[in-house]
Amino acid sequence: MADIAVTSIATPPSRLLAGLKRGGPRLWLGAALVALLVLAAIFAPLLAPHDPLEQDLMSAQLPPAWMTGGEPAYLLGTDSLGRCVLSRLIYSARTAVMVALIAATLAAAIGVALGLLAGSFGGWVDQFISRLIDVWMAFPPVLLSIVLAAVIGAGLTSVIAAIVVVDWTRFARVIRAETMVQLTRDYAAAARVIGLSRVKLLRLEILPNLVPLLVTLLAVEMGIAILVEVILSFVGISVAGDTPTWGSMIAEGRQIVYQAPWIMALPIVCIITSVIGLNLFGDGLRHALDPVQRS
């Protein structure tokens, strides 16, 4: 049929570049902060100027190098036992990143699975999972981790377990709602009409559409996981012994906050920067990935 016009398509601009552009400064700043955090955690032994556990009581409570009385060897000063604050901050990032990654991933895995189930089956399955979420959400994570610490002992495992047990609900609830929305879309109906089973429909069609949302949730969850770990190590039921953590540094600095305020202030700055970095990164990624934003 000659009169069917043969359409040609303009070459679209690079998708990667377009995505980066949509992400904007949020994406850049967030990525830089997250990269800083992750690199510090990975290369802690190389970056830290001192052993974080090495005590030097002769040079205790030294102020940062640029203040009067500071020493160039201890860039950010020392704590009450003469340990290098900079090295301890860098090593603390390891604990924070580990908790954030493991806890957020596990919480996401459980939450997404149950959210998809609830959102796609509806009926009593949905009722059951939704009520479970309600009950679970009413339980404060810090309280739960204290209970867990009492039962299975303090340590990273109980911190991670506590975060996962409580925070899967955050994923489950949002994924459930979004699954329901996606299932009403025409493309989902079209996919059912080509004979896909429910499992295939969810895996091949729905799940890829949830990725932008999931990325944001993951980033936010990692920030929350870092905060929970800080709280728990502040009260002393996170990692055992003298492994440095931001929370324990704050706890130690609190006692001498009038003599050496930087010991408490510096870990707080690290925490705030990490959480803001993660949130910005998640937000930027969502904008970069979101199909709705695509023209």
């Binding site: 049929m1 009169d3 069917i4 016009a5 043969v6 359409t7 040609s8 398509i9 679209p12 509806g122 879309r185 025409d186 493309y187 109906a189 079209a190 996919a191 059912r192 009409v193 080509i194 004979g195 896909l196 089973s197 295939k200 091949l204 069609e205 890829p208 559409n209 990725v211 199909p291 695509r294 023209s295």
Partner: protein
């Protein structure tokens, strides 16, 4: 010869409201049948019932839908899924939203082919490129690597048409495939449907409210109103000698260049009931006017 597709006395209810009230129709192998009616006549509901897409609050209360002699409503879910997409296919109404926004065109056609025909990934992609060529898309390999938002609405509709005919279906249900497109593209789409159905030997149930479209491509037609079949027959006969007042009103409401169109006179449901009970004998427009 068994009909490809038979609907017998189908009744569908949403809550207390009866949306389809005993619809019967038949599509022979290779036939193109138009299913026309105004909004709310139940034509989309019929298509949805066939495809198992009825909304959760709707239920089939009576009747039978048979595909090649097998009862679609009675068969097991897994068996029906094997028919859908392969033997019964849908050309959806809105090309803008009926493709998955986050998957490449190639992946979407490829999935369909692999799901039903058990092809390897590479063969499926090669076959997908052939299908795109069939619907007059140039540089099919390049289009396969694009996302739906990167191609125009007309192209998306062609991709959907290619997908509908991909597995040589016996029946294609076209659910107002031209409604969301502008007029110049509509014609191309109609020609494509016509060409592909001939090539793949499929029957088409063309759901539309556009009598012009029906006149162009459907050999036979069924007029639906308020959940009932008012009239059916050869398109030429129905359009030139409409037996029923409603069909006449529908025709008069079709915009044409040579005369001003009349607004479609709504037919009161009570009157339809009366017409129905009098066994299609009331052919007089006067009856409508008097009401």
């Amino acid at each position: 010869m068994t009909a490809t597709f038979t609907v017998e006395g189908l009744k569908v209810a949403i809550g207390a409201a009866n949306v389809l009230r005993g619809v019967s129709l038949e599509v022979q192998p290779g036939e193109v049948r138009g299913l026309v009616g105004e909004s709310g006549a139940g034509k989309s509901m019929l298509g949805r019932a066939v495809l198992g897409l009825l909304p959760a609050n709707a239920a089939v209360t009576a009747g039978r839908i048979a595909f090649e002699g097998r009862d679609l409503l009675a068969m097991a879910e897994a068996e029906r899924r094997r028919l859908l997409g392969r033997r019964i296919a849908l050309i959806p109404q809105d090309p803008m939203t009926s493709l998955n926004p986050v998957k490449r065109i190639g992946a979407q056609i490829g999935n369909l082919l692999r799901h039903h025909l058990d092809l390897s990934k590479r063969t499926a992609l090669a076959r997908a490129a052939e299908l795109l060529t069939e619907v007059a898309i140039r540089e099919p390999e390049r289009v396969l690597a694009l996302y739906p938002h990167e191609i125009s609405g007309g192209m998306r509709q062609r991709v959907l048409i290619a997908m509908a005919f991909a597995c040589d279906p016996a029946l294609v249900i076209a659910d107002e495939p031209t409604t969301a497109l502008d007029v110049t593209v509509q014609r191309q789409v109609l020609q494509l449907v016509e060409r592909l159905r001939l090539r793949h030997g499929s029957a088409v149930l063309f759901v539309t409210h556009d009598l012009g479209v029906v006149a162009k491509i459907c050999r036979s037609m069924t007029v639906l109103h308020a959940g009932r079949v008012l009239e059916e027959g050869e398109t030429a006969n129905v359009l030139t000698r409409p037996r029923h007042a409603y069909t006449r009103a529908l025709l008069a409401a079709t915009p044409r260049a040579d005369r001003p169109a009349e607004a479609l006179r709504p037919v009161p449901p009570a009157l339809i009931e009366q017409l129905w009970s009098e066994a299609h004998r009331l052919d007089d427009v006067a009856a409508v006017d008097a009401a």
